[in-house]
């Protein structure tokens, strides 16, 4: 790397209409998105960052989020660190990270304490049973929606890999680490070979 390149190598785009956010603004913005995010923060994060604050264009948001999706760990949590550090270095990343996690952790911890105390009350149990059925239904719907692009492209190899992972983990209940250690290089090799063949 040439000595005169910028230290962080994360150039702030200069065509944005809004000035880059400071640490407090990052913390508050992510706290607000997180507290609105029932059943997932992604939709609210995109609205806040692209539409409201105009800190990123839609394309920049997609590219940044895609990176965080293919890295391990909770996507949106990874995103806070990458997003915040783009503007204010590591401190900015930590500010966004703390904003996303801090307030909801307090809420969930209070709920956990209430559950530990009152979890055996019959009415609460019944409500939770109903909510968890609906929550699982939401998860199934997300999985189906994510499969649509593969089905539309008739990408049968990807669908077979998908099915194999589903059976290994969901049916055979094999340990996650072992399955991924086998499936990840395999899937990368398949994509690599197919791109070679297509080129």
């Amino acid at each position: 790397m040439p000595p005169d390149s910028p230290p962080a190598a994360v150039a702030v785009p200069n065509h944005l209409t809004s000035p880059p956010p400071g640490l407090v603004a990052l913390f508050l913005a992510f706290a607000r998105m997180s507290l609105s995010g029932f059943g997932g923060v992604l939709a609210f994060a995109r609205r806040g960052i692209v539409d409201q604050h105009k800190w990123m264009t839609a394309e920049e948001f997609n590219e940044t989020f895609a990176l965080c999706h293919f890295l391990p760990g909770p996507n949106i949590v990874n995103f806070t660190m990458v997003f915040g550090s783009r503007f204010r270095g590591l401190a900015g990343g930590i500010a966004a990270f703390a904003g996303l996690l801090g307030p909801p952790v307090v809420i969930v911890t209070i709920l956990a304490a209430l559950y530990a105390r009152f979890g055996e009350i019959e009415a609460l149990r019944r409500i939770l049973a109903g909510v968890s059925c609906a929550a699982v239904g939401l998860l199934i719907a997300v999985v189906l929606r994510m499969m649509l692009p593969l089905i539309r492209k008739r990408d049968f190899t990807a669908l077979v890999v998908l099915l194999a992972v589903f059976i290994a983990i969901g049916q055979l209940q094999l340990p996650l680490a072992a399955v991924l250690l086998v499936a990840t290089p395999l899937s990368i090799a398949i994509v690599f070979v197919r791109r070679r063949g297509a080129a």
Partner: protein, 178 residues
């Protein structure tokens, strides 16, 4: 790591390791969380795990906060904090480092290849999570019916998910689900 040791350290070790394999987000790690928390370590019962998932879905914030609930069940507030940070911080720092690295070498075809290869893995993992949760929470015909109805509505309409969770809670309260 050591069963008789400090529960906080066990939580940190368990979730830090788990997060490194959670490709595709928190929901894809659900089967592994269930395996470790219920089957291996006996921190929670099946029912408590399903309840923790429901509470995490009902609360605002990222869905990964189910680990906060597991941590709380094991070691109170300190456990909740330790589990959350162990699950979130190492991979967030990894993402920070990788993003800096990629911005330096954007000519390689490998980021795109890897990303394409991870898509079916990530969806397969999420499907497996749904399967494990169907097994633990939809244990009766009425529960399975509510689950299927919620899935169909969420898939075919643009309804705010909050309404479906609320409807599920009301049906549960009314004693429809057994």
């Amino acid at each position: 790591m050591n069963p008789g040791g400090n529960p906080i350290l066990t939580l940190i070790g368990t979730f830090a390791l788990m997060s490194l394999f959670a490709v595709g987000g928190a929901n894809s790690a659900i089967p592994e969380m269930h395996r470790v928390a219920v089957d291996v370590r006996h921190w929670l019962t099946d029912k408590q795990f399903a309840d923790a998932f429901a509470i995490a879905q009902m609360s605002p914030g990222p869905n990964v906060l189910i680990v906060t609930l597991i941590g709380y069940a094991v070691a109170g507030v300190a456990g909740a904090l330790a589990a959350t940070l162990a699950m979130c911080l190492p991979t967030a720092l990894l993402a920070y480092c990788v993003s800096r690295l990629l911005n330096r070498s954007s000519h390689s075809p490998w980021p795109a290849i890897i990303q394409t290869a991870l898509v079916p893995l990530s969806i397969g993992l999420m499907a497996a999570s749904a399967m494990v949760l169907v097994r633990t929470s939809a244990s009766s015909w009425s529960a399975a019916l509510v689950t299927a109805a919620a899935a169909a509505l969420a898939f075919t309409t643009r309804l705010n998910p909050l309404w479906l969770l609320l409807a599920g809670g009301l049906l549960g309260f009314a004693g429809v689900i057994d």
